[in-house]
């Protein structure tokens, strides 16, 4: 069940008509996740803000020719992801700029198409529900580790001391949890 089944996104229709308040409402609705996505790629808050602002500006520029039958959320998230990758590339061309997670950036670039398919799928209601369901179905101690590391940005040793368990236990809980979540995603979005 994709978004388009419900008919055109009302926000997209208003954006196409040049309604500036629709842009703010879109930010209200999707700005948080858009920022998290950019931050995950860039790991730098000012750079992530730039990527999101650029995506919104680009969306506003293109609004008059917006296809209102597609998913606005998936279009926005794809644009944010691309702007974030643009920044990664430009940062890399500047030799002394800090570039962390070189292998991750390589994966982000090499798997752009796949990742964007995932972004598109997750922007649809059905897969969001599925992934949310998988998250809720995790044993509480595994869900806690996902929430503290992914959501809270805590390092594994920090989680170990907060939860009062060994580092090895934290690692295996995170691994088990991520395997289950990947499986939930894989059923629909990953090949």
């Amino acid at each position: 069940m994709r978004d388009m089944v419900r008919g055109p996104d009302a926000l997209a229709v208003r954006l196409r008509a040049g309604d500036a308040s629709a842009l703010e409402e879109l930010f209200e609705r999707d700005g948080g996740p858009a920022f998290r996505l950019a931050y995950r790629v860039l790991r730098d808050a000012p750079a992530a803000e730039d990527a999101v602002q650029e995506a919104f500006a680009q969306l506003w520029e293109r609004a008059p020719s917006l296809n209102t039958s597609g998913s606005l959320r998936s279009l926005l998230m794809t644009m944010v992801h691309r702007r974030a990758l643009d920044q990664v590339r430009s940062r890399r061309r500047w030799p002394s700029a800090p570039v962390e997670g070189e292998a991750l950036l390589r994966i982000d670039e090499r798997a752009t198409e796949l990742l964007e398919r995932v972004i598109e799928e997750v922007s649809s209601e059905a897969l969001r529900l599925r992934l949310r369901g998988a998250l809720l179905a995790l044993p509480p101690e595994q869900r806690t580790v996902v929430e503290l590391s992914h959501g809270g940005g805590l390092s594994l040793p920090e989680i170990a001391s907060q939860e009062g368990v060994s580092l090895g236990t934290v690692k295996s809980r995170l691994r088990l949890a991520m395997q289950k979540l990947s499986l939930a995603l894989k059923d629909e979005a990953l090949p």
């Binding site: 500036a20 842009l23 930010f27 700005g31 920022f35 996505l37 730098d44 919104f56 594994l156 691994r175």
Partner: protein, 226 residues
């Protein structure tokens, strides 16, 4: 790091939450071993998908204001040298720093106690630098009247999670936030902030907790004298 050891930390690596040393070890393994790419792609995709579910966490307030300003500017209010051209701007800044470095000597501003280098008000480009007693260095460079400032930091400690560096301009006695960041494991940072710096403004750097009031500065670790 062996393949088994890598598999243990791969989920944390995909989330971007490994400690710097462990991350470096994982990087080194991944650079040589091609066995883990498909698993890493899956984990990375899952990580990004989880970010898209975090609807209840709002974006930063500063970003809200920037997005709200887009329609009025017809999409114009982007930072100078955005995206692809950013590195060119950064290269120009370094050239500029080299030019001003000669001037700094004569103004004797980079002394151990911290100081600032002011440029004449008529200059189109500005470069200010703060330097600490232990080799900490923060420079602010940009074009007078432009809406962004490029900040370069070196010789600072990478802060633990939960803390960050916040940069301030002191404008008519008021502390105005320029932006915030953390350095990499080598103590460096380079980036642009959407902030119009005026010539002659005092500058300061503080260490803040992420849970602290973002508008209330703590004690500065570096600041302009006077």
């Amino acid at each position: 790091m062996t393949c088994d050891e890598l598999l243990e930390v791969l989920p944390a690596y995909a989330l971007g939450v490994l400690e710097p040393e462990e991350q470096a070890a994982a990087e080194a393994h991944l650079a040589e071993c091609g066995e883990h790419d498909s698993e890493l792609v899956e984990l990375r995709a899952t990580s990004l998908a989880l970010d898209l579910l975090r609807e209840d966490e709002p974006a930063p307030e500063s970003l809200r204001a920037r997005v709200a300003a887009i329609p009025a500017g017809h999409g114009a209010p982007r930072r100078v040298g955005a995206s692809r051209h950013w590195w060119l701007a950064a290269a120009a800044v370094v050239a500029l720093l080299a030019v001003f470095a000669a001037g700094w000597g004569t103004h004797a501003v980079l002394d151990g106690g911290g100081g600032t280098s002011g440029v004449p008000a008529s200059a189109v480009q500005y470069a200010y630098a703060l330097q600490g007693a232990n080799g900490e260095f923060v420079s602010f460079t940009g074009v007078e009247g432009a809406s962004t400032v490029t900040v370069k930091m070196a010789g600072l400690s990478r802060l633990p999670s939960g803390q960050l560096y916040r940069l301030w301009a002191i404008r008519d006695g008021q502390w105005v936030k320029i932006g915030q960041c953390n350095t990499n494991a080598q103590g460096g940072w380079l980036g642009d902030f959407a902030f119009a710096l005026n010539s002659g403004e005092a500058l300061a750097v503080t260490v803040e907790s992420t849970s602290a009031d973002p508008q209330a500065p703590g004690a500065p670790i570096l600041r302009t004298q006077g």
